[in-house]
Symmetry: C2
Subunit: 352 residues, 2 copies
DNA sequence: CTTTTTTGTGTTTGCGTACACATTTATTCT
DNA sequence: AGAATAAATGTGTACGCAAACACAAAAAAG
């Protein structure tokens, strides 16, 4: 076996000390032009790969990451990212990583700002954020950049931000996939509904992307389309139920697409009226949805895998900080199709 | 942060040298009864947790893994595991891991034995194996155990083997999922075919599990079922085509399930006769299948993710050897449903 | 009573990082 | 010129563990 090249070897070859080589490698300055040239020349000709074990041992540093996410107790969807972070923490604890969570109310942009402010104040080495509020997050990205804190986005992409990485899904394609699943085996032309269950206007861009994909696919197949908007935050529960009732009585209605994790609100009504011929497609493996998937009211769920998103976000930051590894700037996760039969295999399988 | 206890601290407390503590910790002997007592007393009272980073640094070892897989040039399915291993090798090279591949002919059990023999002869630190041949692999598992070489299985599980871990899928559930996808939107009762494209009898256990799941699901739905067996290795191409022709002319045939990666052989015929109303479900994202998935002859592919299987197998062995980490003895990957629309998202996404 | 073998023990080396500290140059001011 | 200051480098060490090595002392053999 060929012995790997050590800093010592480089120092010997360049006729400088290991300290100087170290300073060159990390751009710490305090190196004369002459020495710099010599070291760079040696680095050019040999392929130096630092011993990462020794590196982490030597640096003996603890890295502190900040996680900015919505409150899981308000929306179960956000439990998963926190789980993902916990799992990542276990894995990275040996390298001195720990994460602090900054929770915000997903319906309150000021709460978001407070959380981000606190996160910044903790002066973390890296930030993982779900930037649900477009307008409010932009100034923070600038401040992250100014303070040279690397940050990664997940769940929601914001193109103006220049993050280390975005981890999420291609929403347009996700909508197309939903369209495909909706059309499958639907021989006669029928009507398909898109249900908007708004909880917040801010989410609209996010949601419209999915719907565009869905609509495009159905148009290509010449299907009839109907859209309906509902407000879950509306306190008049009765009006909500009435709207669903009206929707379900639409003549020749073949399917309903819910582009959020709220499919269970429709499913519960379908179960009540024992309507099995309307295909319902929604998002995310939240507990509320799972029962209806198993019993058949929901036919497909598309899994956005928020647990993995957060896990990979953590990993991306850790790789960047610890190994100075180049990370891909955009990481689109697969569009996972979940049915009653393959659900368990997804619930059982760990993040690896 | 509380400082963790080092070997040095133990040595100081027991009034011996670090070398002695090390010998006690590793039962290397050469320690006087007196010194042993003192060290054990200290170890009793404190909770010593070795620093894993420093451990791997100190041991300064190179690990050699052996990969025993079928020849990818014979069956494209086996290209993926090799890719997975290559990717894992890159990631683990920094910890001194390297892998050697031992290729065997998947239709020749003697070739398998030769490969396994060679792998053993290389005296690896760990073995990752796809044990396609049940009978022939059992004695090797015993020998692995005797020589105390940890080994992991992937793709095919053999319950009698006591491996470090098995990485694969639940085949029965995979069959059920195929059944579910087959029935979806098929209103009127029809006939469904299972096509056996045998290449080898040995695979039958593997394949029968899937088919059992498929049949069970269809029985629950009261569907008609028809089975047909074909031999691809049969040189009489005409007879093969004739059989498919006969199959496709079955009255009221609604779907075909191919429980191997050979769905493309059926798809090509469906394309020829321009038959779009038979739903074809197969396995694996091999290049031969992808074209037909995109153009619609194949409706669903279930991805066994062999690349990830091998990747995780490598990772499992490495974690075990390097970090002495407890690994789960069985790791069932999710049953991934692939369609024309979500295919690209799977092809694009890396193993993480 | 000497020589060889066994056994116990301490020391060193392997790694990269990040300091404190020492030493050498180069530049500026008096 | 000579001293004072600054910048550039070099030296040394701690971090943490394992394993090889050196060397003593004790036990066994001759």
């Amino acid at each position: 076996m060929t012995k790997s090249i050590r800093i010592k070897d480089i120092a010997l070859k360049a006729q400088v000390s290991v300290g100087t080589v170290d300073r060159v490698l990390h751009n710490r300055g305090r190196v004369s032009e002459d020495a710099l040239k010599k070291v760079l020349a040696v680095l050019e000709e040999i392929d130096y790969k630092p011993n990462l074990i020794a590196r982490t041992l030597g640096s003996n540093k603890t890295y502190h990451l900040a996680l900015i996410v919505p409150d899981p107790s308000q929306d179960p969807y956000w439990e998963a990212p926190v789980e993902g972070i916990l799992q990542a923490e276990v894995e990275w604890a040996r390298y001195g990583f720990r994460a602090e969570r900054f929770i915000f109310n997903q319906h309150d942009n000021q709460s978001f700002e407070r959380a981000a402010e606190l996160a910044l104040k903790s002066s973390p080495d890296g930030i993982l954020i779900a930037p649900l509020f477009y307008r409010e997050s932009l100034p923070f990205f600038k401040r992250f950049e100014q303070q040279k804190i690397p940050f990664a986005l997940f769940n929601t992409n914001i193109h103006e931000a220049k993050p280390l990485s975005f981890i999420g899904q291609d929403l347009y394609k996700s909508g197309r996939t939903a369209g495909e699943l909706m059309c499958l085996g639907q021989k006669d032309s029928g009507t398909f509904a898109i249900v908007h269950i708004y909880e917040d206007i801010q989410n609209s861009v996010h949601i419209l992307e999915k719907e565009k994909g869905f609509i495009d696919y159905l148009r290509e197949r010449n299907k009839e389309l109907k859209t309906i908007t509902m407000s879950l935050s509306d306190p008049h529960e009765n009006s909500f139920r009435d709207q669903i009732s009206t929707l379900c009585n639409t003549p020749n209605l073949k399917g309903i697409f819910v582009s959020t994790s709220k499919a269970y609100t429709i499913a519960s009504h379908l179960k009540e009226i024992n309507q099995k011929n309307i295909r319902l497609i929604g998002y995310d493996l939240i507990p509320e949805n799972l029962g209806y998937l198993k019993s058949g009211e929901i036919t497909f769920l598309i899994n956005q895998n928020p647990k993995r998103q957060a896990f990979l976000g953590f990993r991306c930051l850790a790789n960047h900080l610890l190994f100075k590894k180049e990370v891909q700037s955009i990481d689109l996760l697969p569009l996972e199709i979940i049915t009653a039969e393959n659900l368990q295999s997804y619930l059982d399988s760990e993040i690896h």
